[in-house]
């Protein structure tokens, strides 16, 4: 099956990339933007979806500093 893993910095940890984008948007005329955070997206085909969780814990995310969310994309792959 096809799966998507969303990885983002844990709440409360300084996210300088998010801050930089948050500051850049008003400069381009986009007002009213706040709380911008930037993470990573991993898409993969996996035969055994039960492996997704341990994959995230061991490699795809660093659970000390990142949260992750696994999405199973049905009907593709």
């Amino acid at each position: 099956m096809r799966a998507r893993v969303l990885i983002r910095p844990k709440a409360g940890i300084l996210d300088p990339q998010g801050t930089a984008v948050e500051r850049a948007l008003p400069a381009l005329g986009f007002a009213g933007v706040g709380n911008v955070h930037i993470g990573r997206l991993v898409e993969l085909d996996v035969e055994d979806p039960s492996q997704l969780e341990p994959m995230c814990e061991k490699l795809l995310a660093n659970p000390l500093v990142e949260d992750y969310e696994v999405q199973r994309l049905d009907g593709s792959g």
């Binding site: 910095p9 300084l14 300088p16 930089a20 490699l59 000390l64 500093v65």
Partner: protein
């Protein structure tokens, strides 16, 4: 005594680490694909961009065959020094607490920094004086040390913060100005700045980094005596 210096695809400071280690003992390179640590008495995990720093700095390197051996070596009490990318690898391998995140200034930064020796009685700093300032170069884009609050409290109680950036020197935004930490057992140490680049006043402007390598030698000799 002999230092083993790991070499990953993408390492770039292994030769300087080898040169620094050879000022105090023997040293040889160990390719990442090898499991045999060649009888090394101490291991250096050097700086660079192992495996291109893909995913996260150090995330892939920690699974290399050589690192599997280093993890076992550390569990047996062997001395392990991680510099810059090596520090990131040791954190990813959970040999050291915390993690290294992108610099708060969002830039790759290369500059000389002053480091305060917080813990002078470790196998990595015994040649330094308490409170001594070491002038050592730092060059990285992901050097912002982070550990959560309970971890920081536990580390403080156990004297695990070995080096701090001196006032005004914390350019990467590290929590509590932390520049170098050791594990609970005290035999694994990592720092972002590069002591191996500061071993000769003629070409580095400072030889303050040599103390780290001398301390490791002293610790090994003491253990044998």
């Amino acid at each position: 005594m002999k230092f083993g210096v790991l070499q990953f695809p993408g390492s770039c400071d292994e030769v300087d680490a080898l040169g620094a280690a050879r000022r105090v003992g023997d040293a040889e390179l160990i390719w990442h694909g090898e499991r045999d640590l060649r009888g090394a008495d101490a291991i250096v995990v050097p700086g660079g961009f192992s495996y291109g720093d893909y995913l996260r700095a150090g995330a892939i390197a920690r699974f290399s065959p050589a690192m599997e051996s280093v993890i076992a070596f550390a569990a047996d009490g062997g001395l392990v020094l991680g510099i810059c990318n090596g520090f990131q690898v040791l954190c990813e391998a959970r040999l050291l607490p915390g993690a290294l995140l992108g610099n708060a200034n969002l830039r790759f930064t290369s500059r000389q920094v002053d480091l305060e020796v917080v813990e002078p009685e470790t196998p990595f700093t015994s040649a330094c004086a308490p409170g001594e300032l070491l002038s050592i170069p730092a060059k990285h884009s992901s050097g912002r040390y982070y550990a959560d609050a309970p971890t920081l409290v536990a580390m403080a109680e156990r004297g695990q913060v070995v080096l701090r950036y001196a006032a005004g020197e914390n350019f990467n935004g590290s929590v509590e100005d932390i520049a170098g930490v050791r594990n609970e057992a005290g035999n694994v140490f990592g720092l972002m700045p590069h002591p191996e680049h500061a071993v000769d006043e003629l070409i580095g402007g400072s030889a303050d980094g040599l103390g780290i390598f001398q301390s490791m030698r002293l610790a090994l000799e003491g253990a044998r005596a």
